[in-house]
C-alpha cells in the first residue's frame, strides 16, 4: 500500500460562496441551508482514495483549510496560505461578481506559494436555471484558461461534482 502523504490545501473565495459547505459535503456528506460565516480558519482532515498515475499509486491526506471568505477581493489573513500545496477557488454562480473578485486572490496565492495547482469551482449550480448555466460556465472556463487550471460546476447542496473537485486537485498535485 502506498504511503499516505499529508498535504495542506486551502479553500479560497468570497464570503458566502460555499467553502464551508463544500468541505462539509466532501468530508461528512452533510449540508445545511443555514449560513454561519467563518472567521479565521478551521482545519479538517480527510484521506482521499488512492490515485493512480503512470503506474504509481499515491494517497493523500488533505489538511483542508476552510478560510474566512474575502470581501470584494480584500484578503484578511495571508498567513493562512503559507505552505499550501494547492487550493480550491470557490465562486458563487448566483453572484457572478465573485468570479472577478477572486482573480486577485488567485494571483496573490500563487505568488506566495510558488505556483501550486488550483481548481476553480462555480458553486450552487442547483440554483441556476439550465438556460443560464452555459454562459456562466463559459465565463468560468475563460477564467480557468487564464490560470491554466480546471474549472468545475458544483453544488454543495446536491453533492454534484464536489468530490470530483477535490480529486481533480489531488490529481493536479501529482503532475
Amino acid at each position: 500500500m502506498a504511503q499516505i502523504i499529508n498535504k495542506k490545501i486551502c479553500l479560497l473565495g468570497e464570503y458566502g460562496a460555499g467553502k464551508t459547505s463544500m468541505i462539509r459535503r466532501f468530508v461528512f456528506d452533510l449540508f445545511s441551508d443555514d449560513y454561519i460565516t467563518t472567521i479565521g480558519v478551521k482545519v479538517t482532515e480527510k484521506v482521499l482514495p488512492p490515485i493512480e498515475r503512470e503506474n504509481k499509486l499515491q494517497q493523500f491526506r488533505f489538511m483542508i483549510w476552510d478560510i474566512a471568505g474575502s470581501e470584494e477581493g480584500k484578503i484578511k489573513h495571508e498567513n493562512y496560505w503559507m505552505g499550501a500545496s494547492g487550493a480550491l477557488i470557490v465562486t458563487d454562480l448566483c453572484r457572478p461578481k465573485t468570479f472577478s473578485c477572486t482573480s486577485s486572490l488567485i494571483e496573490k496565492f500563487l505568488a506566495l506559494n510558488n505556483n501550486p495547482p488550483i481548481v476553480i469551482v462555480g458553486n450552487k449550480t442547483d440554483l441556476i436555471p439550465l438556460t443560464e448555466l452555459n454562459s456562466l460556465e463559459t465565463t468560468l472556463q475563460e477564467m480557468a484558461h487564464t490560470y491554466r487550471c480546471p474549472a468545475l460546476l458544483t453544488s454543495a447542496k446536491t453533492g454534484q461534482q464536489v468530490e470530483e473537485s477535490f480529486i481533480r486537485l489531488a490529481q493536479c498535485m501529482m503532475e
Binding site: 441551508d33 443555514d34 505552505g83 448566483c94
Partner: protein
Amino acid sequence: MTESSLSTIILESLQAGWIFLDQDLRIVQFNSLFQTWHPHYQTFDKLSVTEVLPETVGLDLLFKELISGKQTAFTLSHIEKESLKKETGYFNLIFLSTKIPEKPILILLFNDTDFALIVQKVQQQSYEIKLMRSLLHTKTAMASGLIGSSEPINRLRNMIEKVASVPYSTILIQGETGTGKSLVAYMIHHLTDKRDRPFIEFNCAAVPETLLESELFGYEKGAFTHAAALKKGLLEEANGGTLFLDEIGDVPINLQSKLLTVLESRKFRRLGSTRETTSKFRLIAATNRNLKIMLEKNKFREDLFYRIQVVTINCPPLRDLGDDLISIAQHFIQNYNREFGKAVKNLTPEARHKLKHYDWPGNVRELRNVIERAMIFSEGPNLGAEDIQLPQKPGQEIANGDVSLPEKGLSFEELEKGLLRQALERSSGNQSQAARLLNMSRDTFRYRLEKYNMLESS
C-alpha cells in the same frame, strides 16, 4: 535565578498552552494547559508537531526559517477547534524562534474564544444581510424566487422568462390579493437587461385621487399651493427602467386618459409646466379586480385596457398550488428561523393537513402571517396544528347581518368606527380593499372615514 527558570515563570504567567520543538520538529517540552487542551494524548514527548497540531502541516519552510533565526515570529489567529468538551473554541497560534539549539522553536497557544465569538457575531450580521441582498439582485435567484414545481407555478415561471426578453412591452398582472403580483413585477424587471435601472413601485389605491396625479406626473415649484419645490413624478423617475403600478383599477377615469397619452407618446408635462418631458419605461400594471367588468360599467377606459393588456400574466391563487403550499410555508419557516433566531424544523402532518384544507383568501401574504404568528408562539421543534391559527370562514361570525344586539345595547358609532379601523388594518391601509371588505364603494368608505375624522390616520 537562572535565565531559563525566569522564562518558564514568564511563560506560565501567560495563560497559554505551550510546546518547545527540537530541530526535527518533535515536541520536547510542554505545559499542563497544552495537555488539557489536547486530552486525547497521554504524553507529547517526541511526537511530531504535525501529528498533534495538523495546522502545522506544510509549514516546513517557516520552521526552517525559525530555526535559522531568519524569521522570529509568525501568527495564525482565530483557529477554530472542537477540542475541549466538544464545544467550538478559537485559538491563536504563535510561533517563536528561541535561538536555543536543543529547543529552537516555541509554539504558544492562546484561547481566543470570547473575542472570536464577538467578531463572528458582527461579521455574521453584515455578511448575512449582504448575501441575502445580493441574492435578491441576481437573475438566477430571481428565477428561483418563485417556490414550487406545480403546474400553475411552472406556467408562471415560463411566462415571466418569456416576457422579460421583450424589453418595453406593457404587461398586465392579474391575481387575487396577496398572490405576489409585486414579486412577479420585480422578477420581470430583474430578468431584463434593465436590472440596474430604476424599479419604481406604486400602489394607486394608497393615495387619495387628488394626490395621484401629482405623484405620477410631478410638479413645478408653485404649481399649486403646497408645491414649495420642484418634484419629479414617478413617470420621470422610472425613465430607463420599470414603472410598476399596482391596483391600476383604482386610477380615476380622467387620469386614465392622461396615462394612456404618456404610454403612446412617451411624453408628458409636470403639473404647472409648459415643457414636455420624455420618459421611456416599461409599464407593468397589476390589479386584483376584473377590469373587463369595470369596462362594462364604464369605470375603466377601453383604449387604456387594450393598451396595457398586450401581455397578461395570471398569478395563481394559493389554494390551486397543491403541495407547493407546503414548500412555501417551509420557506417562511426558514426565514423566520433566521429572523427570530429559532430552530423550527418542519410542519407536523396535522399542521400540513390544516394548511391544505383552508382556502386562503389572502393567499401567500396570509400564509406568511399565519406562519409568522405560529413561529412566535411555537415551542417545539415542529409547528403543530395547534400552532396554526386560521380565521373562521368569513360570514361564519355574522350570517347576513344576523348580529345579536347585546342586552345593554351598544354604541353604533363605536361599532362602525371599529369596523372601519379593522378593515383598514386587514388591508394594510389600502382603502379600496378595505372598502371591499365592508362591501361598500371607496367613496362611501372615505366618506365614513371623514365623518369620524379618521382620514388622517388611515
